[in-house]
């Protein structure tokens, strides 16, 4: 019964912490919201984005504003129902960019007969990766009017289920990206000898994506193309190695030209 579902991506909230709208922050080379669009489209479901920022129109899917602004995710869900015709909507928040097709499909599969189905991974329930039936709309409006805006509280009175997907999917799929520091290691680069000379500085600060392990030689060669033509070594916190681990936040990374001691 996939036909009766619209995917609603919630990108409504402005995020001052991110410096710009969360969903437009780039993860692995493309905006977070675009990862989710790709997943929704691969399932073959219609998609709409709920956002108050017109920049989201660049993705060629319908974008609608919140009808209840500043009412948090429930306001977005409301707008999702309002601007879709399907019997159910699959809600995904734009700040969980690693959600995969299989996760969405298994939630949909389990959802028959329930008004709301949301997943739980280990001890954490994720109400903003879930499927909601239109029968919840009226009381959604009531909650918004009453400004009772907690999503978990909203779910409770309905015929709902929380499915445990801990053994089926990696925690990574639920990872929440809120700030640049969730995405990048902010690192001091120390350069020496002929490399410092070419860079015209001995110390510079850069952001290196660290959501996945990263080969620094490859990264540096792209950032500073002259490096690809020379021999050098890399020291992460003074230890000679070239692979930055997932989520690692080193204090310094040194780029060392050939040694010439003695």
């Amino acid at each position: 019964m996939k036909q009766d579902i619209t995917v609603v991506i919630l990108a409504g909230g402005q995020s001052s912490r991110m410096g710009k709208d969360k969903g437009l922050i780039s993860v692995n080379g493309k905006p977070m919201v675009q990862h989710l669009l790709g997943v929704a489209q691969s399932i073959g479901l219609p998609v709409i984005i709920i956002a108050n920022n017109p920049d989201y129109k660049q993705f060629n899917v319908p974008v609608y504003e919140d009808r209840y602004k500043e009412h948090g995710p429930l306001g977005g869900i409301h707008s999702g129902f309002y601007h879709s015709q399907t019997e159910r909507i699959f809600v995904i928040s734009c700040d969980t960019p690693f959600v995969q097709k299989e996760l969405i499909e298994s939630i949909i599969e389990a959802s028959e007969g329930f008004e709301i189905t949301v997943p739980r991974h280990e001890h954490k329930t994720h109400p903003l990766i879930g499927i909601y039936a239109r029968s919840t709309f009226e009381s959604l409006v009531k909650s918004l009017e009453a400004k009772t805006l907690k999503v978990m509280e909203f779910i409770k009175p309905f015929h709902h289920q929380v499915i445990d997907v801990s053994t089926l999917f990696d925690e990574e799929q639920f990872e929440n990206i809120n700030e640049p520091k969730d995405l990048y290691a902010q690192v001091k680069i120390k350069a020496f000898g002929m490399i410092a000379e070419r860079m015209d500085s001995t110390e510079t600060e850069i952001s290196i994506p660290n959501k996945k392990a990263m080969n620094l030689r490859k990264y540096f060669n792209e950032l500073w193309p002259f490096l690809s033509e020379m021999s050098y070594s890399i020291a992460i916190d003074q230890e000679l190695r070239e692979e930055l681990n997932k989520n690692e936040q080193p204090n310094e990374i040194a780029i060392l030209p050939p040694f010439a001691g003695g």
Partner: protein, 142 residues
């Protein structure tokens, strides 16, 4: 962490007094000294007049420390000292001073070779070879 760097050239006086300090250690039967000297290479018809040494000092001192530990483990030594220059050292002056001591000669002969090779390969020290006309090239250990 001991700082193995000395600003500028390592002077013959400094080396002499290092030797003198060991005269009280009478269990020593053999010293071996290695001195690295700045050579005035001719590179593309220009003569090197000095080397300006720089380093990732903290990392280099850790590397010196590790080399020291490894050397003591491998060879039966009484004591060991390493000094390396930073900044400008003119050609003909000393930029590296390694001093190992033991009861017997075989130990220090083997140890000194190990230490010097390890320093050349593992310590992040960089050398800018300066010419008379203020131009330069970067030295690379072979």
């Amino acid at each position: 962490m001991k700082n193995c760097f000395k600003e500028g050239a390592i002077t013959p006086d400094f080396i002499a007094s290092s030797i003198a300090h060991h005269q009280v250690k009478t269990n020593i039967g053999a010293h071996q000294i290695f001195l690295g000297q700045v050579r005035s290479d001719i590179i593309e018809e220009k003569e090197v007049v000095a080397i300006d040494y720089s380093a990732h000092e903290e990392m280099a001192n850790k590397a010196f420390h590790e080399i020291r530990e490894n050397t003591f483990e491998k060879y039966d030594l009484t004591c060991m000292h390493i000094y390396h220059s930073k900044g400008i050292v003119k050609s003909g002056e000393i930029c590296l001073f390694v001093f190992v001591s033991s009861a017997h000669r075989k130990m220090v002969q083997q140890a000194i070779e190990f230490v010097v090779e390890e320093i050349k390969a593992k310590v992040p020290v960089f050398g800018k070879e300066l010419f008379e006309d203020d131009s330069h090239v970067w030295k690379v250990n072979k």
